[in-house]
């Protein structure tokens, strides 16, 4: 794989692109090339948290040597080597002072092994080559600084070429650990006047965690020969701090552990190595640190609340296995002990004069034209000691001089350009940036952002033979489709523009089986690239409407075709996260938000024409459906139905044949009940599935039917897997939500609004239900002296296969005055005939006792039935279609 192809050199022959890529306009007044993605340099406000001073110095003297392929100019090339060294040192000192204010999560520790795996798998390797070959210890002063960069590369370099691979804080730290490999070993403190033993201080107090001993007064202090807490002479409520120096013979990784009752912490210098804090019995905690040979300051903190008390400190290192930390290797010298903070050698000691000079040079060398030094800081066009640089149009005369000289001159930036490149630039100087063709703009971006490292487009790019083996999958059976990023030929005609934007901006992933991650490039580039893709690939807009399918029919037939008895798409595609029956291919519920209808149609008709080598079979060979019994075998209607059905996304009812772990509740000859948390019907919901795929959910909190729907009844997998968290929505389609509120109300004023009160709070009491022979429930409840029965039954209607619901509400007992039953609500109720009403999508057939009149209240937008106060038994019959 090797070093990435630099866009700089790919564009030799085009001086305009070079001027753009070298960001000449940062210093020289000129027109920005709006056709190309902006370029920029990193914000250096956190340089000192990340970069080692040595690396900065070496980079400034020779960028190409330290970072091959870098387009950073040589800034000190015109000076004598000794002068350049002095200035590089000053700049390194200044930049090292610029630190991040971010507080890292203390609990995270990087795992280099995991990090190496991530590096290989998620896609870093596609551009950077194998991690093993990267020597970053010299560049990065610590893993956290690098991890901060990896977690969000664009935070410090908005226009940088490095995208985010969506690493979370832990993953970023893992990768950083793999790249930096623990960093340089800690340097020893080497005290001059240390003597045998360990210094101790003892404290009294009642704590649940280690206190800040610095803020407390020790009741005893002195020198002791071991690290035991018994020195305090107390059994409960005390703390001990031991401090001293530890002699390290051999540089390397050392592991320390404490087994303490209660809490303890062990530090080397400022670094917390073992954190065993808190109230507990004999618990062991471990930690490792890389130490250079010599004497290192250490601090051991301990406290005991009640009960037993002990603290066993052990260690292991190069050449010896775990043993107690004790003996002659421990010395003490309280005056020289730095405490829990970096000691001199481990601190970067800034020298004031050099920092001052560095800051001055940063300005004089015009570094600030490209690099800001404050978070979100501004860039400054140079004024410099020689006055502002000439505008680009004036630079024809400058050819061979200043930054266009063939050898570095004085402090002018030197870009290491070839003679031809200088000539190309000369040609372009003074001209407005050339208008590029969409294909050129696109190609430039695909090269600049290394899209070609993973994706092929029109025969260019894609993984190299050597890199191919790093692209892995969890679904071996899918073959190369399962592991290689998709080709981008015609992608502008394939993906909807919003989706394309989202994928480029956020790296949104729809191929869970693919181990490599799509990076995220942010919204600005996403908008640019999407526009270019569309301009070049010219998508066609077609609509499903031409097929004249009713929505209801489309959903029904689409579901049938996707299901196992249709085209059996669910054999190889997951559906709303439900595993497929075979290979776990891309989820069907994301298709509609991704794919343009035109592309989907063409793809379904002939998959391999758009994705050569795909395992997706053709279900309409030569345009003829393999399912002639559905929608009369009409290919365009079938495809439109599939599209409409899939356009419901995750809300689409699950296709037949797909078992959600066998927990879809089937309804056969008898009704079936499901009491649980049903979305839209409350925490005391009672779902009832009736024969004929007609269902309802009755809300026992509000004594009312809450939902009607057609199709499959309920999927119990949410509640019957794991702990069963949350509310489950009904499984089917044509879902109708019925009004909230109590079923009956006393309205003294016929214009009063229907009460919104909680039915239980106003005296409704649920009484349970009685099942009939077909297990259909009659719900029972009371309201004061009123006893109510609420019964539903499926009814086949018309010559269609669809069912309606009959309802019989029976009221017995003493009826109070002005009692009303609510049939339903709608913003504009329509009376279709004497006994038929249309309330939104719901059609209600009413059958009332003789003499009863329905009350339609326009303002209150509801339909009520008055219950006569002299009735001993009152029956309201309804039939619902929707």
């Amino acid at each position: 794989m090797g070093a990435p192809a630099s866009p700089l050199f790919d564009h030799s022959g085009d001086g305009g692109v070079l001027i753009h890529e070298l960001n000449c306009v940062a210093c020289h007044e000129g027109k920005v090339n709006a056709f190309l993605p902006p370029v920029g340099a990193p914000n250096l406000s956190e340089a000192g948290s990340r970069l080692t001073p040595n690396w900065i110095r070496a980079f400034l003297i020779n960028p190409e040597k330290v970072s091959p392929g870098s387009s950073h100019p040589v800034l000190l090339g015109g000076l004598s080597p000794s002068e350049a060294k002095v200035r590089a040192e000053a700049l390194a000192q200044y930049l090292s002072m610029l630190k991040s204010t971010r507080v890292p999560e203390e609990s995270l520790r990087g795992n280099a092994e995991t990090g190496q795996q991530l590096f290989d798998q998620v896609g870093c390797v596609a551009c950077h080559g194998q991690a093993a070959g990267m020597n970053l210890q010299a560049k990065y002063s610590n893993t956290q600084g690098l991890a901060d960069l990896l977690e969000n590369p664009r935070r410090l370099n908005l226009h940088g070429r490095m995208p985010s691979l969506g690493l979370n804080a832990q993953e970023a730290l893992d990768v950083a650990s793999a790249l930096v490999k623990g960093g340089p070993p800690r340097l020893p403190d080497n005290p001059k006047n240390d003597r045998p033993g360990v210094y101790y201080q003892t404290y009294a107090g009642d704590w649940d965690r280690l206190p800040d001993f610095d803020k407390l007064k020790p009741f005893k202090k002195g020198v002791v020969d071991n690290l035991s807490p018994t020195i305090a002479g107390l059994e409960d409520y005390f703390g001990v701090r031991h401090s001293g120096f530890l002699l390290i013979d051999k540089s390397g990784e050392y592991e320390f552990s404490t087994n303490s009752d209660d809490g303890s912490r062990f530090y080397v210098g400022e670094q917390l190595v073992v954190n065993n804090d808190g109230v507990h019995g004999g618990v062991t905690k471990k930690g490792t640190i890389s130490l250079a040979s010599g004497k290192h300051a250490f601090t051991l903190l301990f406290f005991d609340k009640e009960g037993g008390e002990h603290n066993h400190v052990r260690w292991s290192g190069p050449g010896f296995s775990e043993k107690a930390l004790e003996g002659d290797i421990l010395t003490q010298s309280p005056d020289e002990h730095p405490g829990i903070r970096p000691s001199k050698k481990n601190r970067f000691i800034a020298e004031f004069d050099k920092v001052k000079l560095g800051k001055q040079l940063f300005s004089e060398l015009n570094c600030a034209a490209c690099h800001a030094v404050e978070p979100n800081g501004k860039l400054h066009r140079p004024e410099g000691i020689l006055g502002p640089p000439p505008a680009l149009v004036e630079m024809k005369e400058a050819l061979g001089r200043g930054c266009l000289s063939s050898t570095p001159i004085d402090i002018a930036p030197h870009f290491r350009l070839t003679l031809n490149q200088t000539k190309d630039i000369a040609v372009a100087l003074g001209k407005s940036p050339a208008k590029l063709k969409p294909a050129e703009v696109l190609n430039h971006a695909l090269v600049a952002y290394q899209c070609y490292a993973c994706h092929k487009r029109s025969g260019i790019g894609g993984p190299t033979d050597e890199g191919d083996s790093y692209f892995l999958t969890t679904q071996q059976a899918m073959g190369p489709e399962g592991r290689l990023p998709p080709h981008l030929s015609g992608v502008g005609a394939k993906l909807k523009s919003n989706w394309l934007k989202e994928v480029i901006a956020k790296g949104t992933k729809v191929r869970p089986y693919m181990m490599t991650r799509m990076p995220s490039y942010g919204p600005e580039l996403a908008a640019r690239l999407t526009e270019s893709f569309i301009e070049v690939d010219k998508p066609k807009e077609t609509s499903t409407l031409v097929t004249k399918l009713s929505r209801r029919e489309a959903l029904k037939k689409g579901r049938e075709l996707i299901g196992s008895k249709g085209m059996a798409c669910v054999s190889c595609h997951t559906f709303a996260g439900i595993p497929s029956l075979g290979v776990q291919g891309m989820d069907l519920t994301v298709m509609s938000k991704r794919l343009r209808f035109d592309w989907l149609s063409r793809y379904l008709l002939d998959p391999t024409s758009l994705r050569p080598g795909t395992r997706m079979p053709s279900f309409w060979p030569q345009g003829k459906s393999t399912k002639p019994d559905v929608l009369d075998g009409d290919t365009s209607k079938q495809i439109a139905a599939i599209h409409q059905y899939l356009s419901l996304g995750e809300k689409a009812p699950i296709p037949s044949g797909l078992a959600r772990s066998g927990m879809q509740l089937s309804v056969d000859e008898e009704a079936r009940l499901y009491r649980n948390f049903i979305d839209g019907a409350g925490s005391r919901a009672i779902g009832v599935g009736y024969p004929g795929e007609v269902n309802l959910a009755w809300d026992a909190n509000h004594l009312r039917p809450a939902l009607f729907w057609h199709g499959p009844f309920m999927d119990a997998s949410r509640h019957w897997s794991g702990r069963g968290q949350g509310f489950q929505a009904p499984d089917g389609f044509n879902r109708l939500t019925l009004p909230d509120g109590p079923p009956f109300a006393n309205l003294n004023d016929p214009l009063a609004p229907w009460p919104k009160l909680d039915a239980r709070a106003v005296g409704f009491r649920f009484g349970g239900y009685l099942l009939d022979k077909q297990r259909r429930p009659t719900f029972r409840y009371s309201f004061g002296d009123l006893k109510v029965e609420d019964f539903f039954k499926e009814r086949r209607h018309g010559d269609d296969e669809d069912f309606a619901l009959d309802r019989i509400v029976t009221i017995k007992g003493k009826v109070s005055d002005d009692l009303f039953f609510r049939i339903g609500v709608d913003s504009s109720p329509q009376q279709l005939s004497e006994n038929i009403f249309k309330l939104g999508d719901l059609i209600v057939h009413l059958s009332l006792p003789r003499g009863t009149k329905v009350l339609t209240r326009v303002e209150q937008r509801d339909l009520l039935v008055p219950v006569p106060s002299d009735a001993k038994k009152f029956v309201i019959k309804q039939t619902f279609e929707w």
């Binding site: 109230v279 609340k305 009491r675 005391r684 019957w720 099942l771």
Partner: protein
């Protein structure tokens, strides 16, 4: 520490020497575990158990089914026949038969169920009481007991999650009468695993390790008591509660110890028995009292307490000191098929245990199980009772003991510890002490040993290992040498 290890090593060595020839007795020699085969297609994530008048075993499930099991009391489970009797209920965690009805505690209500037409399937489901709320959190479980002597069912209502109570009576115990009255009874419930009555008809429940529960525990429910978790204190403000129970207690101090808060807060009732986390279990659940009159062996009127995670049943001996229950728990039987939840003693004296490991893994290994424990008629060598004395403990064994081993101080080791009473989740064992056993005296009856102990700790578990004690006749070691006594009160005499 090293001394203890040496002693233990010596003991186990002598055990090997003594029993070199005979196999060491196992639990199975005394209590047979019969695993009832569950037909394919039935998911018996058991939540409640009851024996019907027709000798069928009713098993309710977390999926909302009630199965009737025929031939459940034979020597093997091979003839067990499962019939679906009711379905579509909401996570049934309690069954109780009374007056011709099967009462079922579902998440939202106590329901009574009947098969009116006698076709073998229930058809009438009457709501007895639904006078508590549910917000829709999976944690909001409801466990119901059998009916007590006053005809009330005790229902413990889990909090909304681990910490708080979003709607009324989450985190409370309520009683429900057969005619549907609901009486708010006790606050401080966190996450119950089961509920049961002792021989006197008093209610106990198990709460699980979590906030304000440093370890799982067996707790005694009494009207007006506060059981430790203040998450549901808001419902003291409801009129019905105020009338029944008065003002709310003060909130316990987080980070304190149980016994300190017991002294400070009169309504707070610390757990009758702390069940040491990781040692005897991780998740205490169903409770059954041995009222078989000897059909289940020597442990008359003791409470058997299941553990879901460890798939075991432990045994609890309780005694009343200064009017409060405290006592010891002992391991009893391991090897159940799944995560034990409901436990019931049946009229024939056998114990039935139902298991599920959904959502909370269990050692048993099966997704669900139905197990029966039958006494073989042989008496195991166990500590029958561990009673507190003013200066130590009195151990009564199930059989006469070997004098030499029972009076040898090195036969016993004791340590104590407790847990932090805190709003954070759980607690490590803390405040370890090692009391000194000064003497061990064998009484005339030959099976009671008095241990004189210096350093008894109020509020601590007294973890006694009697590994060196041998029975007189067979010279057997204890089947379970560990005993864990939770001490709250010392008797005066």
């Amino acid at each position: 520490m090293s001394k203890v290890f040496k002693t233990l090593a010596a003991i186990s060595f002598s055990t090997l020497v003594t029993f070199g020839q005979n196999a060491t007795p196992t639990e199975e020699d005394y209590y047979k575990l019969i695993k009832i085969p569950i037909p394919e297609g039935i998911v018996l994530e058991a939540g409640g158990l009851e024996v019907m008048p027709n000798k069928k075993l009713a098993v309710s499930t977390r999926r909302g089914d009630v199965y009737m099991v025929e031939n459940a009391f034979e020597d093997t489970g091979d003839n067990a026949k499962f019939t679906l009797w009711a379905e579509g209920l909401h996570e049934v965690l309690g069954l109780s038969f009374a007056d011709g009805w099967l009462y079922a505690t579902q998440r939202p209500e106590v329901t009574r169920i009947k098969d009116l037409d006698g076709d073998g399937r229930a058809d009438l489901f009457e709501t007895v009481s639904d006078a508590w709320e549910i917000s829709g959190d999976y944690h909001e479980y409801a466990f119901g007991s059998k009916f007590d002597k006053e005809g009330n069912m005790w229902v413990v209502l889990c909090l909304t999650g681990s910490f708080s109570s979003k709607v009324p009576y989450r985190g409370w115990c309520v009683r429900v009468s057969k005619d549907g009255k609901m009486i708010p009874t006790a606050s401080g419930i966190r996450s119950p695993g089961g509920i049961g009555l002792n021989a006197l008809g008093e209610a106990f429940y198990c709460d699980n390790q979590g906030p304000w529960n440093g370890t799982s525990a067996l707790k005694h429910l009494t009207p007006g008591s506060f059981q430790g978790h203040p998450g549901g204190f808001g419902w003291y403000d409801l009129d019905a509660t105020k009338k029944a129970l008065g003002d709310k207690p003060a909130v316990p101090v987080s980070g304190s110890r149980f016994h300190k808060e017991m002294e400070r807060l009169p309504k707070y009732r610390p757990p009758a028995i702390l069940i040491p986390h990781g040692k005897l279990g991780n998740s205490a659940s169903g409770i059954a009292c041995d009222e078989s009159g000897g059909k289940f062996g020597p442990f008359k009127e003791q409470l058997f307490v299941s553990d879901q995670t460890h798939s075991v049943v432990n045994r609890c001996f309780l005694e009343k000191v200064n009017g409060f229950y405290q006592g010891a728990c002992f391991p009893f039987r391991k090897g159940f098929g799944s995560g034990n939840v409901p436990l019931m003693q049946c009229p024939d004296g056998s114990l039935y245990s139902g298991g599920t490991d959904r959502g909370w893994g269990a050692r048993g290994g099966s997704r669900h199980a139905l197990d029966r424990v039958v006494w073989t008629g042989k008496t195991p060598f166990e500590i029958l009772e561990m009673r507190i004395r003013p200066k130590g403990f009195e151990l009564e064994f199930t059989k006469p003991v070997d004098r030499k081993s029972a009076t040898n101080l090195s036969s016993y080791t004791m340590k104590t510890y407790t847990y932090i009473f805190q709003s954070k989740y759980g607690s490590p064992e803390v405040d370890h002490t090692t009391p000194t056993i000064k003497s061990a005296t064998l009484a005339k009856d030959g099976k009671t040993v008095t241990l004189e102990v210096e350093g008894l700790q109020i509020g601590h578990v007294h973890d006694l290992q009697s590994s060196g004690v041998r029975s007189k006749e067979e010279s057997h070691p204890l089947l379970h040498p560990g005993a864990y006594y939770t001490l709250w009160h010392l008797p005066k005499s």
